[in-house]
């Protein structure tokens, strides 16, 4: 600049020439912004409030889980999978256990599979509660976020009763569970199945036909089925776009084929559809848990909680102190000296936000040779710039929360 001017004068000159009116703004949305619910950076190029371009930066909480897995025995890895999608940690744990069981060729008793189904569906409910209440929060309704978290809390109390932890659960073991569910855990599960449907109706009444909420969400952040498939969408986001793909039905695992449930789908793939698909999925999950409880009630067996695989399930502690065999197994498991076949498997489960896959390559050693996690939100988050392009900045916030992007899973 040749001559010095005060900033205000510069602005005045610019404004008089009409130059400032068409200027584009660059805005850093994140990395730490309360509206992004996690650490994501989006550098937006804005024309007024219209988004023209987005550049994403991710990896702020990358913890190299895949690398760490290569040094750990198989039974120590569920603690890492917890920390991916921490909103539905038990699904991640069960998915890992099932991948390893597939590698080892372990068959589970029906009772254990149904117990797993109960846990996975309860965690799907917590995941959807978190996502849907955050959608309502970002759409301007604070009540659900504060009020419906009590149901998540109630489910966390069940986890607490089963495994002692609440958020990062490390629930279950390779071959089953670490202990049988207590009476209190069953009681709490039954109570929640009885009471949650009424709460969901209330949640629906508050938002689903609410004119303000509908105007805010319908046609906000839509994606077509073709684009969603091309971008590798799975889970509720894909179903909201109208594709009825659900791993529980496409590749049933853990005896999901024994249950009768519906796959809700949307039409336009916008925020409203994602919201309503999740609402309906919570109802279906309740129905699945109810069916599982009925099936378990009909069984005479009330004590089996793991498969008969002494090489993988730790013996009870009393036996370790008094029984030679139990001590040997305990030692072998803890030192990671059990036989693992050479091979590779891919196993996927329907996680809270999509197809959660585990690719395990074993060279016969105590730790896997290579582990790859197929993390649904890492894969679909790359569609975010395309979805929000041409929309308003405030819609971008709402779209991000409706996509259920979990920072821990994104960055693994």
């Amino acid at each position: 600049m040749s001559e010095h001017k005060a900033p205000v004068d510069m602005w005045k000159d610019d404004f008089a020439a009409g130059g400032n009116l068409n200027e584009l703004t660059t805005l850093n949305l994140g990395p730490t912004h309360p509206a992004t619910h996690g650490i994501f950076q989006n550098v937006l190029t804005l024309d007024g409030e219209i988004i023209l371009e987005t550049e994403q930066t991710i990896g702020y909480i990358h913890r190299a889980f895949e690398k760490i897995c290569e040094r750990r025995p198989f039974y120590q890895i569920p603690t890492l999978t917890d920390r991916m999608n921490y909103c539905s940690a038990p699904i991640n744990n069960m998915g890992w256990h099932m991948a390893v069981e597939k590698l080892l060729g372990i068959d589970l008793p029906k009772r254990v599979e149904y117990m797993r189904v109960i846990i996975m569906e309860l965690s799907r409910i917590t995941d959807h509660i978190i996502c849907n209440t955050i959608i309502s929060q970002d759409a301007g309704a604070t009540t659900p976020f504060l009020y419906y978290y009590q149901w998540r809390e109630r489910i966390y109390e069940i986890y607490e009763e089963i495994c002692g932890a609440r958020l990062t659960t490390n629930m279950g073991r390779i071959g089953g569970f670490e202990r049988n569910f207590s009476d209190l855990a069953w009681e709490r599960t039954r109570a929640i199945i009885k009471e949650l449907p009424a709460a969901l109706v209330e949640f629906d009444k508050l938002l689903v036909r609410n004119r303000v909420f509908m105007d805010r969400c319908i046609n906000c952040g839509p994606i077509s089925a073709e684009r969603a498939l091309a971008y590798g969408f799975t889970g509720p986001n894909l179903r909201a776009a109208g594709v009825d793909y659900d791993v529980r039905v496409a590749d049933p695992y853990s005896s999901y084929e024994d249950f009768d449930f519906k796959i809700p789908i949307g039409k336009s793939g916008d925020v409203y559809d994602r919201f309503t698909v999740r609402q309906e999925e919570m109802r279906q999950s309740i129905s699945i848990v109810r069916q599982a409880l009925e099936k378990l009630d009909k069984m005479t067996d009330k004590t089996t909680y793991h498969a008969d695989v002494p090489h993988w399930v730790l013996p009870p502690k009393q036996e370790v102190y008094n029984d030679m065999e139990a001590l040997i197994y305990h030692f072998k498991i803890v030192m990671g000296e059990v036989e693992v076949p050479v091979g590779e498997v891919y196993h996927c489960v329907e996680g809270g936000n999509g197809e959660l896959g585990y690719y395990v390559v074993s060279d016969g050693g105590r730790a896997p040779f290579r582990v790859h996690f197929r993390r649904p939100c890492f894969i679909y988050y790359q569609a975010y710039p395309e979805i929000i392009k041409g929309g308003m900045l405030s819609d971008a916030i709402l779209t991000m929360s409706s996509m259920n992007v979990i920072a821990g899973e994104l960055d693994a």
Binding site: R71, E344, R374
Partner: protein
Amino acid sequence: MPAFTIKTERDQLTTDRLIERFGADAVTHERLYDTMVYVVPKEKIHEVLSLLRDELDFNFLTSLCGMHFPGLELELGAVYFLHSMRNGHRIRVKTFVSMKDATLPTATDLWPTANWMEREAYDFFGLHFTGHPNLKRILNMEDFPAFPMRKDYPLEDPTREDKNDTFFGR
């Protein structure tokens, strides 16, 4: 057993088509647990993937990841997880490259979702995908000095100087 339905006839069809088109020398196949795994040379990988997508209905790229087998001649590899949703059929396609010439053609023209997956494979294994629109690191910082998922990279960061290793080693 979890998720263990084997689609024998679809597997057979896929194998036949690949061998018919590329010859039995180029395509090796093997069933590992429930899934067919095909290994193809890297010169043919793009053709194989487009054949699978366009003619055998593998419309969905589930995932893509890098591999490293130190000691082999072709020590780096990429695994493509393909899924035909209409037929409920999954396969894996692998290809291997040498450390000196770690380049592969990009699959972003077939599936846009390969974009970040290839960036991840580049970031961790140093696989260069030619034709990729934006091949740069994704999870690690941009000036990271190594490709950390390669087996020769130690688990703990070797560039750290704040730990004294006199007593306990690294």
